[in-house]
């Protein structure tokens, strides 16, 4: 196999709370929120890697940190063999050309005061194309490419529906002919019929331009549809990664299993199906459980899970971080942890997450 286009190693992103001047003067202790806590994966050219998890698991932060939009706390990201965090100004600018991002919210991702022509032309302007007629032409071209019409180039975002705006966002991301696009929940805010249009568009564009995608989503059926490989995140860590078929047909981590089991299927066979729902809420990333982060909600949790599990190989390219994959592990001898109804280990009821954690 050739070298991956993107190689993420042990990526960390912590947020610090109580970090202002006043807090310091008052001698308050910094509190860290480990939004992303040691995440590693590769993305190969031309493939789509899915990053799934519930809100607050750090999947969006991962996407933004690997693009150097947020300053990483630790770890490294290699893009086409170059270390992204070690890039100088000029290098970073050329990296920005090659790596793009499409955001979730089609309402907030377009500046309401610019026409869509200006919005799509903006990346060209930033990268030195000062000829405005040329930018406009390119914007028209891109509008047509994403299924809108060139005649709409002078309209404002509020004149478009959600799905159309998302197409404009995609056109903007394509303007610089990138190789790699981070799709951060690109269809989550859209109605299903429109969502399908946009998914088809994304697939067509990938084929046409040979794009590599990192597809961040919480909707598992969308991920199954569009991704080649999938990484499942829980509280800032990847608990399982593998090909889409591995993950969906043969999930190994109890969290992946529970997640898949929870998704309601749109079929009559789904009727009355009772899911063994995971108990409790996702613990706060301010105060994640020790060891395996999932042990507070895991139906198979035992005392041994209070230690951090390594990633075990399940098969070629399929890894999961759960002691149950090691037949000889002390896990099998240790005592089960009684699950209280909340599924929370500590008595602290923290809200699910900070807004920044995802």
């Amino acid at each position: 196999m050739t070298d991956p286009l993107v190689r993420v190693e042990d990526l960390r992103k912590y947020y610090f709370e109580q970090d202002t001047l006043v807090d310091r003067m008052l001698g308050r202790e910094q509190q860290s929120v480990k939004a992303v806590d040691g995440v590693s994966f590769d993305i190969h050219r031309g493939e789509t890697l899915g990053l799934v998890g519930e809100s607050g698991c750090g999947k969006s932060t991962t996407g933004e940190t690997l693009l150097a939009l947020r300053e990483a706390t630790g770890g490294s990201v290699g893009f086409d063999g170059t270390d992204v965090f070690g890039m100088g100004r000029a290098e970073l600018k050329s990296f920005r050309r090659r790596a793009q991002v499409v955001f979730q919210d089609p309402f907030s991702s377009l500046d309401p005061r610019l026409t869509v022509g200006d919005i799509i032309g903006e990346p060209l302007l930033i990268h030195g194309q000062s000829d405005s007629a040329g930018r406009r032409e390119r914007a028209k071209e891109l509008l047509e490419r994403v299924g809108l019409s060139a005649g709409q180039v002078d309209r404002y975002p509020h004149e478009f529906s959600g799905g159309q705006r998302q197409r404009v966002g995609i056109a903007r991301a394509l303007a610089l002919e990138p190789e790699f696009v981070v799709l951060d929940e690109p269809v989550s805010a859209l109605d299903v019929s429109v969502q399908a249009q946009v998914l088809n568009l994304l697939e067509d564009l990938q084929e046409e331009f040979g794009l590599t995608y990192l597809f961040i989503a919480h909707d598992l059926s969308v991920v199954r549809h569009i991704c080649d490989r999938v990484a499942v995140m829980y509280l800032g860590e990847i608990v399982e990664i593998g090909t889409t078929d591995d993950i969906f047909d043969d999930p190994q981590h109890p969290y992946t299993q529970a997640l898949l089991d929870s998704v309601p299927r749109a079929a009559t066979s789904e009727h009355g199906r009772r899911v063994d729902a995971l108990a409790g809420d996702v613990p706060s990333p301010r105060n994640p459980p020790q060891g395996c982060h999932f042990h507070t909600r895991c139906p198979h949790a035992r005392e041994a899970c209070r230690a951090e599990p390594p990633a075990y190989d399940v098969s070629e390219g399929h890894e999961a971080a759960c002691f149950r994959l090691d037949d000889d592990h002390a896990y099998w001898e240790s005592d089960p942890i009684a699950q209280n109804a909340t599924g929370e280990d500590t008595s602290e009821h923290a809200p699910e997450s900070t807004s920044e954690a995802d």
């Binding site: 399908a196 549809h225 929870s262 309601p264 299927r265 009355g272 009772r274 899911v275």
Partner: protein, 435 residues
């Protein structure tokens, strides 16, 4: 069809539901030709257009549709919560309640009373003991500065007053007069609830699966997670022991594992209390798991309704088909999705025209679709109906409308401005988000 006729339709046609539990249930609510309009600056918005359906005892009825389809406004219209500039303009909501029927013979038809004919005060007293509602965003449904326990106790209090004074035309906040208001202003923190209501609130919290209910009752909404707060809202809705619980996108803001918990809870509560649930959602998976019968809404109309199997396995309306074809299947990823082209239409009266509202996006639009279709009986169970000519006869390609009949151009061209969408979402001001 006269109103009388439609009310006398019997409800024994529910035999084809998938799990067989719904046999011979009788109607609790019969909604007939209900229309709700919003009178906005841009013009009249037909948010709900001549909608008819039944809700039966102890069933879960699903109303599914995309944003702007009118599903939330339908729910609000049921319980008379549509706010200005919106108004329910026509139709009847027949509610089975012998006591009320006796008290208000003018509005009654047998055991049923037309809620729209009842005095406003009476209608208001029905919110709680007869109908209650839960919403998508629990965070904004609670007052952030009052403890969760007290807010639930308040609901209990209100119900107790209503029960002590059953069916009277008195407002149930009547005890709360000006003197009391002034007193509350002068003496802050004077609780509106008594210990008994608080005890009941804790009980309710326990019933919806909130651990340590006594302790959590004293906490504020921001100390609850989204899932827990949704449970608390359900507890609040249960305070009046309603006959019908209307759940408007109850799990849309939640993660799937939490969604599973809430759906389990709703099903358990429904079994225990034998109440009816009207489940409004855009998520076909949730519909499939929870609902016995389904209404599919598009552009303010119910375009197809029937049992779950009717709608999911034998869809007649091309919109229903399109909706089902748009969602990726988790267990069998299709190589290519079959989306519905185009966008959700504007509901502005002036722009709607007298045709099938789906015709401009419909792959099977024919020339007869240019007249507005009635509801046809469709194959499947007896109650399977679709507002589409295809329920009546097959597609005839020779009658097909030319491709660019509706102005054609690129598929995503017809613009919907955000102001339209706001108007559509009007009363709730909740734009449905991700699932």
């Amino acid at each position: 069809m006269s109103e009388r006729n439609s009310v006398e339709e019997t409800a024994d046609s529910a035999s084809a539901t998938t799990d067989g539990r719904t046999d011979s249930r009788s109607d609790l609510l019969r909604v007939r030709d209900l229309s709700t309009r919003f009178f906005t600056e841009e013009g009249q918005v037909n948010a709900v257009e001549s909608v008819s359906f039944d809700v039966r005892d102890g069933e879960i009825l699903g109303i599914v549709g995309e944003s702007g389809s009118g599903k939330s406004v339908t729910a609000l219209s049921l319980i008379d919560l549509v706010e200005s500039p919106g108004r329910v303009t026509s139709g009847q909501v027949w509610y089975r309640n012998p006591d009320l029927a006796e008290e208000f013979p003018d509005a009654a038809d047998g055991e049923f009373v037309d809620l729209r004919e009842l005095p406003t005060r009476v209608r208001r007293t029905l919110r709680g003991p007869s109908f209650s509602m839960i919403f998508q965003d629990p965070m904004s449904s609670f007052n952030p500065s009052i403890t969760v326990g007290e807010q639930i106790a308040e609901a209990v209090e209100v119900q107790r007053r209503a029960n002590a004074n059953p069916r009277s035309t008195r407002s149930r906040t009547q005890g709360y007069g000006l003197g009391r208001f002034i007193l509350d202003g002068v003496v802050p923190n004077r609780d509106y609830t008594d210990p008994e209501s608080s005890r009941r609130a804790v009980e309710l919290l326990e019933q919806v699966g909130i651990p340590d209910p006594e302790q959590r009752a004293d906490e504020y909404p921001h100390q609850f997670s989204g899932g827990m707060l949704q449970r608390a809202m359900i507890a609040q809705a249960l305070a009046g022991e309603p006959d019908v619980l209307i759940a408007d996108e109850p799990t849309t803001a939640l993660d799937v594992t939490i969604q599973a918990q809430i759906l389990n809870l709703l099903r358990d509560l429904q079994d225990e209390r034998n109440m009816s649930i009207v489940m409004i959602t855009h998520d076909l998976g949730v519909i499939a798991r929870m609902c016995d019968r389904v209404c599919v809404m598009y552009a303010g109309e119910v375009v197809e309704r029937g049992t779950l199997a009717d709608v999911f396995d034998r869809p007649v309306h091309p919109y229903t088909e399109g909706l089902l074809g748009s969602i990726p299947d988790l267990d069998d990823p299709a190589p290519r999705l079959q989306p519905i082209e185009g966008n959700v239409p504007s509901l502005l009266d002036s722009e709607m025209g007298d045709r099938c509202y789906f015709a401009d996006r419909c792959p099977k639009a024919m020339s007869e679709c240019l007249t507005h279709p009635p509801e046809f009986d469709a194959a499947g169970s007896e109650e399977h109906r679709a507002r589409c000519v295809l329920a009546d006869h097959d597609y005839d390609p020779s009658e097909a409308l030319p491709e660019d009949f509706f102005g054609g151009g690129s598929p995503a061209e017809t613009g919907v401005t955000s102001t339209d969408q706001q108007a559509e979402d009007g009363a709730t001001s909740e734009v449905s988000q991700d699932d």
